[in-house]
Amino acid sequence: MNKGLPKWADIILIPLLSLTLAFLVSGLIVMFIGENPIEAVKVMLVGEFGDSGAFGRFGIGYTLYYTTSFIFTGLAVAVAFHARMFNIGGEGQAGMGGVGVATVLLSVAWPHWTIAIVAASLGAMAFGAAWAAIPAYLQAKRGSHIVITTIMFNWIGSALIVYLLVGPMQAPGMVPETVGFSAGSSIPTLHEIFPAFDKHAPANVSLFLALFAAVGVWVLIWKTRLGYEIRAFGHSEKAAIYAGIKPVKIIMVAMLVSGALAGMMAVNTVQGEAERLILDTVQGAGFVGIAVALMGRSHPVGVVLAAFLFGVLYQGGSELQYIGIPREMVVVIQALVIMFVGSLENMVRIPVERAFVLFNKGAA
């Protein structure tokens, strides 16, 4: 695979070149719809009105809010990738995580947020993992393709959530949502910790949970026996089995951890922002996790950086509507990133590999 390609080229150079291509094509699309790409980038970063761009005083609170969600879903995809499982069900698992958070927070009047966030996290992880468990079991025991089953579970999950919100969990009235969580379960926003953040921005303490989860994933994958087994299984299933590693166990563990991480996203969105369960809390973040894990080469550091990049894109992208570019531009950029960093990667990799071979010949 990596003949003559140094590690830095594999993990930094190739993703950066692919990302550049994706941004170039995005720029061409902006030009196609008659707007100025340079102007668009400026608006994305600093905002049309000064403080709501991705790095503006107001905007950064949103950027970090999105980043938090994307770290969770990115880690979820990354952990599964290590076991060579493609978990495309982050969307459903994160949605069910929201049901877990709501179930926990509505069951007891929590006295203080520090207890509530622990309980809500457990609920989110349990529900997220449960939603990954059936596809994982079917893959491990019956050989049903995990990609297809997780896609199906995304749709089953979304139907289930609609059912819950217009049925058993619905608050009195017509709106499909639960009653609001009690005041004791409200977690602090970043503004309450660092007043420099804007009061209305939704970024909250779950950002630290996300960073903590990233460290946890790093420890799990690279510092534990289980992580070693997961990676060995991902590299070569046959060799792993020969070494006495049990496929069923690895698939189940990797997918349950993955589902739990995706579910954790709900602590940020449902407990941190909406403070009740509403429809469509995930908003595609489960899929962004795929792009984030690809960009980040399934390494927690890479995932955190890529999640921040997508946070910037999401907040910056919503600013674009003020200069006449619909916010769907973000979806297009996201698609191009997934395309160039993921499926079209060899378009960059093959020429780079050739260049290195030539270079090495010249040096020798």
Partner: protein
């Protein structure tokens, strides 16, 4: 439930299953050749937009900058849909056949690209939140009344069945239904079909026989593009939507994928799977919940049923769904 109600249910089942069937057959060609395609949804959506936009443009008076056509606009739209869908199919083919990239990731990317770009370009061209202008008359595919439908209407049972259920659909519905036997014949009775199935099962064998795996797979992916384009055209020109609406494919590409697995990659079963899923949707649209006496089935359960059934089939408890052996695997020629 009286006869008329049943007839109406079946009628809307046929209408609702048409886009599923076209997309499902598209997936069948692609996956039979060994290329997974979860981008059916995206190709369909992009096709729907292209059809809506082209048909609107073709029917617009020359004074307003359109083509000023008075007939055949719907077919222009369908052509545009097929063209756009083929472009996306070629991107998928380039990524998964030529570059040997991950086919699933490519499909995900195509779905997003379609979801974003249709609204983006739609807003730029028509300035109405990504919608195309409402389409009228020959800008849409109009219902075709089959011969003797009016005359026979009076005949009990058979008359209304012929008049309401069999007659009175648009051209794309009949094309989709005809595509089923055609696909069966092509795949199982021609040399082309044998080769197409062979590259999906054992590309090495096909390669050894001196046949290009790359070419076979590209052809399959292109056919999938054509069919997804037609499915898209049906959504914007053949339904009561009468134009393109943002995200109008609404997961139909995934139901089609589910139907494909449910049908175990067989054309004839695909027809029944799509009709079944269309029927479930028709019931879901008509009844909010179904009271079975002992308990009430919520409409959301009906909506989730296609996916649940597919998981059950995939689990192998009721028959086993065995995908083409080389599905998802890029073919590396031995050197």
């Amino acid at each position: 439930m009286d006869f008329n109600t049943i007839l109406q249910l079946f009628d809307s089942a046929v209408r609702l299953s048409t886009p599923l069937l076209l997309a499902c057959l598209a997936g069948l060609y692609s996956e039979r050749s060994g290329i997974f395609d979860i981008g059916l949804e995206g190709k369909m959506l992009a096709g729907a937009f292209a059809a809506g936009a082209m048909s609107a443009y073709a029917g617009m008076p020359v004074t307003e900058g359109g083509l000023g056509m008075t007939w055949g606009m719907a077919w222009m739209g369908a052509l545009a849909a097929v063209a756009v869908s083929i472009v996306l199919a070629l991107i998928h083919g380039f990524a998964s056949i030529t570059l040997r990239g991950n086919q699933l990731i490519s499909g995900v990317a195509i779905n997003f690209f379609a979801a974003g770009s249709t609204v983006l370009i739609g807003q730029y061209w028509f300035q109405s939140g990504g919608q195309t202008p409402p389409l009228r008359g020959a800008q849409r595919f109009e219902a075709i009344t089959l011969p003797f439908a009016k005359t026979l209407e009076g005949v009990p049972i058979l008359g209304p069945t012929y008049h309401d259920l069999i007659s009175g659909h648009n051209a794309l519905v009949y094309m989709a239904l005809l595509a089923v036997p055609l696909t069966w014949w092509l795949l199982f009775r021609t040399r082309f079909g044998l080769r197409l199935r062979a590259v999906g099962e054992s590309p090495e064998a096909v390669d050894t026989a001196g046949i290009s795996v790359v070419r076979q797979r590209y052809v399959a992916v292109l056919i999938a593009g054509v069919l997804c384009g037609l499915a898209g055209a049906y959504l914007s020109l053949g339904t009561s939507a009468a134009g393109f609406v943002k995200d109008m494919s609404a997961g139909k590409g995934f139901i089609a994928l589910a139907a494909l697995i449910f049908a175990k990659w067989q054309p004839k079963s695909a027809l029944f799977a799509c009709l079944l899923f269309g029927f479930l949707e028709a019931i879901g649209n008509r009844y909010q919940s179904i009271d079975l006496g002992a308990f009430v089935v919520p409409v959301q359960f009906m909506q989730a049923l296609p996916y649940i059934l597919t998981v059950v089939i995939l689990a192998g408890f009721i028959g086993k769904a065995i995908p083409p052996a080389a599905g998802g695997e890029p073919y590396v020629k031995e050197r």
